[in-house]
Amino acid sequence: MSDSIFDHDHHAPALALPSDIPAALLRKTPLNLPNPAELEVLRHYTQLSQKNFSIDTQFYPLGSCTMKYNPRIAHTMAALPGFARLHPDTPAQGMQGLLQVLWELQEWLAATTGMAAVSLTPAAGAQGELAGVAMIRAYHAAHGDHGRRKMLIPTAAHGTNPASARMAGFDVVEIPNRADGDLDMAFLDQHLGPDIAGIMLTNPSTLGVFERRITEIAARVHEAGGLLYYDGANLNAILGRVRPGQMGFDAMHLNLHKTFATPHGGGGPGAGAVAVQERLRPFLPLPVVAREAAGALRWLDEGDLPQSIGRLSAHGGNIGVLLRAHAYLRRLGRSGVGRVSAYAALNANYLLRELQRVGYQAAFPERRASHEFILSVSDLQKATGIRALDVAKRLLDFGIHAPTVYFPQLVPECLLIEPTETESKATLDRFVTVMAQIRREALEQPELLREAPHHLPVGRLDEALAARRLDVAEAL
C-alpha cells in the first residue's frame, strides 16, 4: 500500500493576506500544499523511514564511501540550544563557545593531516575539491604563472575530481593506472610540464591499494612546478598513521561525513574541510577562525586574507556537521585515531581473505588491501551471465546494503567493498556466509539474482521509464 502525504489533506479556510503589500506582489493562486494532521505527518514519515536501509539498522560494505557508525552523542551535542539557536551574524563575543569548537577542529585536522592550516567552510567533499584546486589556481596566478591550465587526474579517480577541476576552469588530463594498481609513471612524466597546474590523487587509490611511489610522484610534480591535491575520500585507510602532508601533498579535503563519522543523512549534509601547506594558507576559503593574542576567537574575513579564493557559501559552512566531527575526534583523541585505520585495514584484509576463500576473485590479489578492496565477478558473468549488479541487489534481500558496483570502471564487473572499523567480526562473518550463498545461487539459480531483490518494499525499478516519463513532482 503506497501512501502519499498528498493523501492527507484537510481543508483549511482561506487566510486574509496583508493589505499593506501591493496586491500585484501577492500570491494569486492558493498554496496547494497538503494540510495533514500532526499524527498523519508523524505516521507517514515514520513509516517512510522504515523503508530505508541505514547504518543504524544495516551493514553497509560500501566502497568509496566510509559508512561507519555515527555516534549519537554527536547528534545530541549539535542539537544543544546554545549551538542550534545561534544566529550566524551574532557578534563574535556572543559565540565564543562555538568558535572554540571550530578553532579546535581546525587545529586537530591540521595535526591529523600533517598540514599547516585548515578552512572548515566547504559544505561537502566536492566543494572541498573545488576549493582545493581553486587554491592551486590562485597560487599559480599569484606567482604570475598563468599558463598552468591542465590538471592531471587518474582515470580511476572519483567523478568529482574531474568535475571540480573543470568547474575551477582547468582542462583535465587523465592518467592511467598500471595492472598492479599503481600509477603509470611513464605517462605521468610525459605530461608533466609548464602547462600542468597539479595533480589530484587519492591514496590509497580508488583501487583499494596504497600508491607506493607517492613520494617520488610528489617530487616529480613539484619539480615540474605543479602542486599535489589529495582527495580525502579514503583518509579512513590511513587516519592517524600516515599524513598527506608528509606524503608531499599541498592541499586536500577531508570528508567529515566519511572519516569523521558524521552521518550521511540520506545524501548529506557533509562537510569537506580543506587543509593546506603553509604556502597555500593565504588562499584558504573564508571564513576561518583565528585566535587572537588575548585568547579571544573571531572569524577571519576578506580583510584578513585578501588573497583568499573567497566564500563558497553565505555563512561559515555546515557548522552542525563540524560540531559532530569535533565530538567524534574529541572522543577518539590522540591514541584513538590510529586505531581507526588499523581496524579498518584489519576488517578489509580479513574480509578479502574470507571472500576469496568462498570463491570470489580479487582484482589485485597480490596487493595488500587498504580499508577497501575490489572483487570482480567476471567469472560469474562468463559462467551464468550474472553481473555485479545482480549480486548487489541480491544482498539487499539479506538486509545488507550493496557494495559500490562498476566503480572504478577500470575493473570489469567489480564490487568495491569497505567494511569500516566499526563493524564486528560477527557481522563480517555473516556477510561472508551470505556472499557464499549468493555465489552458490548465482551458479545454481541465477534467475534468483537477476530478479532480486525479492523481500523489499519494491522490486527492481524501471529506471529507463523514470527518465522517459519524468514524473518528478506530484501533479496539481
Binding site: S49, C65, L98, G159, L346, G459, L461
Partner: protein
C-alpha cells in the same frame, strides 16, 4: 576503544586469517618513512566528559532574542520535525543509489520536489544544493549553459553581500563576468539598466538585502524582452504569501533559487542549511544536482528512484552539470516534514504573522526619538531603521539586554552608519517588540 568492537581474541583470530601477526603489518606496503608520526591531538574523552565540555561551550553562546535575519531566520520548528528527521533510518542512511533499499528517502525527496514546485510555481525542483548562495551560483552556471557562448550575469547591488561573494568566488573561476545593477538609494529597489549587454540572465530578488519587495513582474518582463533568463531569488516561506516566480510577469521566471533554512532548519551558527533550485521542465537536463522520479517495478508497483543521473559527476565526470555529489539530504528531510507539519495553511499563517510582527515593530521603533525609516516600500519581514548612532555600537549595547537587534548595514558596506536591518518572525511576541523598543530607547539615551 570508542566505537571499535574488536576484543583481543577477535583481533588475533582475524590477524591469523590474514596471515600477519600485528596490526602494523597490514600497512607493510606503505613506506615506513611515511608512517606513525606523533600527532598534536589531545587525549580522547569519555562520552560523559565530552558532553560536559560541549555543554559548557554551548552555554558560552549567550541565548539572545533574535531580531536578525539577512538570510538566516529564527523560526519555530515543530517538535515532530527533528524527532523524525533524527531517526536512524533517515539520519544514518546513505545516498539513495540503491533505490529498493531507499524508498523512504526517495519518496520523501519526491514529496519535497513537489512542495518546492508548488511554492515556486515551476515544474521541476532538484533534491537540494548546499545553500542559497551556492545555489544561486549554480543557477547562474545553468543559465549560461542554456544561453550558450561567453556571457555575463546581471547582479543586483542589493543582493545580500555574502551571496555576492559566493558568486564572485565560484563564477570567477570560470571567468564569468558579473555586471552589477545598481539600486535606487532613495527607494532601495533596483534600477533597470539601459541595456542588457551580453548578459545571459538577470537575478531578481524578492525580497532584496534591504528587506524590500521588488517589482518582480516588470523585472521579469524586462529580462525576457532583452533575451535574458530571469533567475528568481526567493525566501520559500515568503512564497506562502507572495506571488510564485513561475507566474512573475508575462511568462514567469525561468528559475527560482533560494535558501531553504526558513523551512525547519535550525540556525546552527550558519549551517547546515540547504539551497533549493527549481526550473522549467524543458531545461531539466541543465539542472545540477540529484533528481528523484516516480516509476514502477517489474510487478507494476509504484516506486521512486534517482533519475537523469547522466547529468551528474559520478556518471558524466568532467562534463557534468556540476561537481556536486553530497548535497544537504537530511536538511531536505527536515524541511519536507516541516512543510507537511505546518501544511499549506500553516506556512501561510506563519508568513502572515512574520509580516504582521514586522509592521508592528517598525511602527514601534519609529516612535523612538532619533529613529527614522530610510525606505518606504513594501516588505515581507525585514526592514531598515536609521539610528542616530552607529548601528554596530547600538547592536553591541543591546546584547546586554539579551537582544540580537539586527544587522548593521555597515558590516556589509551598505547604507549609512546608523542603518540597521531588523527582522521579525512568528517567534516574537508583542512583549518582545515592546522590550526591544524599551531597550533601544534606553541605549540611545546613554550613547
Amino acid at each position: 576503544m570508542p566505537y571499535i568492537p574488536h576484543d583481543a581474541a577477535e583481533t588475533a583470530a582475524m590477524l591469523a586469517a590474514v596471515g600477519v601477526e600485528r596490526l602494523d603489518q597490514l600497512f607493510d606496503e606503505i613506506p615506513p618513512v611515511l608512517q606513525a608520526q606523533d600527532m598534536a591531538l589531545p587525549e580522547g574523552l569519555s562520552e560523559m566528559a565530552l558532553q560536559r565540555e560541549l555543554e559548557g561551550r554551548a552555554l558560552a553562546n549567550a541565548p539572545l532574542r533574535c531580531f536578525a535575519g539577512g538570510g538566516a531566520y529564527a523560526h519555530h520548528i515543530p517538535a515532530v520535525v527533528w524527532e523524525i528527521a533524527g531517526r536512524g533510518e533517515f539520519y544514518s542512511a546513505y545516498t539513495p543509489y540503491q533505490a529498493e533499499a531507499s524508498q523512504g528517502t526517495l519518496q520523501l525527496i519526491y514529496e519535497y520536489q513537489s512542495f518546492i514546485t508548488r511554492l515556486t510555481g515551476l515544474e521541476v525542483s532538484n533534491a537540494s544544493l548546499y545553500d542559497g548562495a551556492s545555489g544561486l551560483a549554480e543557477a547562474c552556471l545553468m543559465a549560461l549553459r542554456i544561453q550558450g557562448g561567453d556571457k555575463s550575469i546581471l547582479v543586483p547591488e542589493n543582493l545580500l553581500p555574502g551571496w555576492r561573494r559566493v558568486l564572485d568566488s565560484v563564477l570567477g573561476l570560470q571567468n564569468i563576468r558579473l555586471v552589477s545593477v545598481p539600486y535606487d538609494r532613495a527607494t532601495g529597489t533596483l534600477i533597470l539598466p539601459a541595456d542588457a549587454g551580453d548578459a545571459a540572465a538577470l537575478i531578481i530578488l524578492q525580497s532584496n538585502a534591504l528587506g524590500l519587495l521588488e517589482p518582480v513582474d516588470a523585472l521579469t518582463d524586462w529580462a525576457h524582452a532583452h533575451g535574458l533568463l530571469a533567475i528568481a531569488v526567493v525566501n520559500p516561506l515568503a512564497l506562502a504569501l507572495l506571488k510564485a516566480p513561475g507566474v512573475w510577469g508575462t511568462q514567469g521566471a525561468d528559475m527560482a533559487v533560494g535558501e531553504g533554512q526558513p523551512l525547519g532548519i535550525p540556525l546552527s551558527g550558519g549551517g547546515p542549511y540547504f539551497g533549493f533550485l527549481a526550473c522549467r521542465k524543458a531545461q531539466v537536463r541543465q539542472l545540477p544536482g540529484r533528481l528523484v522520479a516516480k516509476t514502477v517495478d517489474g510487478q507494476g508497483r509504484e516506486g521512486f528512484c534517482l533519475t537523469l543521473q547522466a547529468r551528474e559527476q559520478h556518471i558524466r565526470r568532467g562534463k557534468a552539470t556540476s561537481n556536486i555529489c553530497t548535497n544537504q539530504g537530511l536538511m531536505v528531510t527536515a524541511a519536507t516534514i516541516h512543510m507537511a507539519a505546518l501544511g499549506g495553511h500553516g506556512l501561510q499563517q506563519t508568513a502572515v504573522r512574520c509580516h504582521e510582527r514586522a509592521v508592528r515593530l517598525r511602527e514601534l521603533l519609529t516612535g523612538v526619538p532619533g529613529v527614522s525609516l530610510p525606505y518606504g516600500g513594501a516588505f515581507f519581514h525585514e526592514f531598515v531603521v536609521r539610528l542616530p548612532h552607529a548601528a554596530v555600537a547600538v547592536r553591541d549595547a543591546l546584547l546586554g539586554y539579551g537582544l540580537l537587534a539586527g544587522l548593521p548595514l555597515s558590516d556589509w558596506g551598505m547604507g549609512e552608519a546608523g542603518d540597521l536591518l531588523v527582522c521579525t518572525t512568528e517567534l516574537l511576541e508583542e512583549a518582545d517588540l515592546l522590550a526591544y523598543r524599551g531597550a533601544l530607547t534606553a541605549v540611545l539615551e546613554t550613547l
